[in-house]
């Protein structure tokens, strides 16, 4: 994790915790962003020229693009981009100590019952040996099948050709301002290549890559599923991802080649000071299936719309999105599907929950190209409001460019009713528990798609969010 100061809201506090003592770092870029800083990052990483040029070109795009004014518009203007360290050498992460992690984060870990080792990892403080062993065993098994599972920086060094062939092809640097930013200063993330016909049964979890960079500020993930292969990648964790970073801007690119099946599951719970601005996109080729399962809790503002381009006939895409916006939070989430080829199918299911003055938005795009005849798509978005001052908005953009398609769209907004609460409470259930039952019931269609332990933790997290919210 690239540790940088939180310059936005808690500057004093961060100093107190000592995360940003410059003497702890071997290398740290200057504050702010410039061609010089970008070149320096590339140099420190020992990258090939093409990557340096890619970064510089991306920086130009970034500088040219205006700040988006939609979505979290107003909030984005509050980010002080000149005050951010864009690169801190990751190996120095271990310098942070468990003692420095704020008590409220530790308390939450305790409530979740997360083992000590995982807690430390989640807090971004150093490695743990047991997990390393698990990781290495997993690595051996995967290597035997020809699977590559590395942090993205190492992959660039070890597999330069494969890397270059796909990197930046799904999300080009000029795609949007934050993709450009990531392209200029990316660091860490996961690189996965699954060879033809290889089916990885267990979900690959970033958690096991304990020593590697995977939750940095500008992480970059690239997954290539070769023909007929299968992989499920689980990112992040349901515990609050503690980060001193105020800005998290990741890019995730996925290539699902013919007949492959890729599922990418994210359950994230950022600390409440974080701007989480992520671009995720997959290209699914002939008969391939791509699934995004995306759960967003925490953060101050999240803008994230996992996308699937259905490139060839028979491709299928599914997006499941859950967002929980608590006090002072804005979750602008949804999904995007582009039907490029005929006989392609897609489903978007979005569930959002707004608590107190929290605000959640569904923002989705469904686009069907003129060539994409006989395509089918179904979009469903449901919003649940917990309190009178909770807010939800729906922005469903639909662009259909031919008639021979089958499109369904349904949106609902519901409020937790007094009668529902009374009904549950009349059975002896407390008000907080009644609320969390209604909420967990609401997201059940998505929770059941998660690996068991994640579903359990997601439900417990929501229970924690609900505690103290009523009274």
């Amino acid at each position: 994790m690239a540790i940088t100061e939180d310059q936005l809201r808690q500057e004093q506090e961060q100093y107190k915790y000592g995360f940003s003592d410059p003497e702890n770092y071997v290398f740290k870029s200057k504050r702010g962003l410039s061609a010089e800083v970008v070149e320096e990052i590339s140099y420190m990483k020992g990258e090939p020229d093409w990557m340096r040029d890619f970064r510089l070109k991306s920086l130009k795009h970034y500088n040219k693009r205006p700040m988006p004014q939609w979505g979290g518009g107003g909030l984005l203007n509050e980010i002080d981009f000149d005050n951010i360290y864009y690169y801190v050498k990751p190996s120095d992460r271990a310098e942070n100590s468990w003692e420095d992690v704020p008590d409220y984060i530790k308390d939450t870990f305790d409530k979740l019952g997360i083992p000590e080792a995982e807690k430390k990892f989640l807090a971004g403080v150093g490695a743990q040996y047991e997990s390393e062993v698990i990781y290495h065993n997993l690595q051996k098994d995967l290597e035997a099948q020809g699977v590559i599972f590395l942090d993205t920086d190492s992959a660039l060094k070890q597999y330069p050709e494969l890397f270059k062939k796909y990197f930046g092809t799904i999300i080009p640097p000029n795609d949007n301002k934050f993709a450009a930013l990531n392209s200029a200063v990316w660091s860490g993330g996961s690189f996965i290549y699954v060879p033809e016909g290889v089916k990885i049964e267990l979900p690959l979890q970033a958690y096991f890559r304990i020593n590697a960079e995977n939750m940095g500020q500008f992480e970059r993930t690239l997954i290539i599923a070769d023909k007929g292969s299968q992989v499920h990648y689980v990112e992040g964790c349901t515990a609050p991802t503690y980060s001193t970073d105020s800005l998290h801007s990741a890019v995730v690119e996925i290539v699902a080649l013919e007949g492959s099946r890729v599922r990418y599951t994210t359950i994230q719970n950022w600390s409440k000071n974080v701007y989480n601005l992520v671009t995720k996109r997959a290209a699914a080729y002939k008969d391939a299936t791509m699934e995004w399962v995306d759960g967003n809790l925490g953060s101050k503002l999240t803008m994230k719309y996992p996308a699937i381009y259905l490139m060839e006939p028979g491709a299928k895409g599914e997006i499941l999105s859950v967002a929980f916006a608590g006090h002072g939070q804005h979750q602008d989430a949804g999904g995007k599907v582009v039907h490029v080829a005929p006989h392609t199918t897609s489903t978007i299911t979005s569930k959002s929950i707004s608590k107190e003055d929290g605000r959640s938005s569904y923002r989705g795009l469904l686009k069907v190209h003129p060539e994409a005849e006989f395509s089918k798509s179904n979009v469903r978005c449901d919003a649940l409001l917990l309190h009178e001052n909770s807010r939800t908005d729906t922005y469903p953009y639909i662009e259909i460019e031919n008639d021979r398609v089958d499109i369904g769209h349904e949106a609902t907004v519901s409020k937790v009713g007094e009668e529902q609460l009374f009904y549950l409470m009349s059975r002896g259930v407390s008000e907080a528990e009644a609320y969390s039952m209604i909420v967990t019931g609401f997201i059940e269609p998505i929770a059941k798609e998660l690996p068991m332990e994640y579903a359990v933790e997601l439900n417990r997290l929501i229970q924690l969010e609900m505690e103290g919210s009523v009274g």
């Binding site: 009349s426 059975r427 002896g428 008000e431 039952m437 209604i438 019931g441 059940e444």
Partner: protein
Amino acid sequence: MEKSLIIRDLHVNVEDKEILKGLSLELEKGKVHAVMGPNGSGKSTLSYALAGHPNYEVTGGEVLFNGQDVLEMGADERAQLGIFLAFQYPMSIPGVSMANFLRTAVNSVRKARDEKPMRVPDFRKMLNEKMSVLKMDRSFAGRYLNEGFSGGEKKRAEILQMAMLEPKVAILDETDSGLDIDALRIVSEGVNALRNPDTSVLIITHYQRILNYVKPDYVHVLVDGRIVTSGGPELALELEEKGYDWVREQFAVPA
């Protein structure tokens, strides 16, 4: 006779309108009491007020459960004490299975009584037993609470909840409404099977019909927010025959 619930001079407002106007009623342990009344007499208000609905404002009187005043308690606390209301119109809760809901409810009540949570196998066994008493298919346990249930299924689900929670005071609010004769019989048999010397049952109804299946020990007549007369089971039959106007005239209640 030992009383489980004593209601004295209860006044309840709904949206600033007085609906219960000094209602008094005492329930005996192990007995079945029926409260009968015409539309608008305050039957549902009585059941909601006893269960602790926040919109039913108690402006006077007292309700004692085994000597303890419950009026200051929330609905959850009353349920934990052992007051149960079978709803006339149960709410559906999508995504929450009957079994999960019941386990949470049962364990909430146990927790309030400082008892350990029920073990999953014990819970399942109990659930299966109670479901077979009510002639409910096992698949019921996996269905979402009241979601897509027929009228009869909803009422049976209410009685199942009652059976699982083993209340000391069970209030059945117009449980017979909307039931065909077969469903009514099944539900009634369920209620009868759950009768025990510790539990008082309060059947709130417009019609005498359900009382053919669940024999009351006492019948009370509710008119215009007050119990105007009480008697044995024969009173229900008399009401059925002579109608509520007869009671109004008899007890000089303005219509």
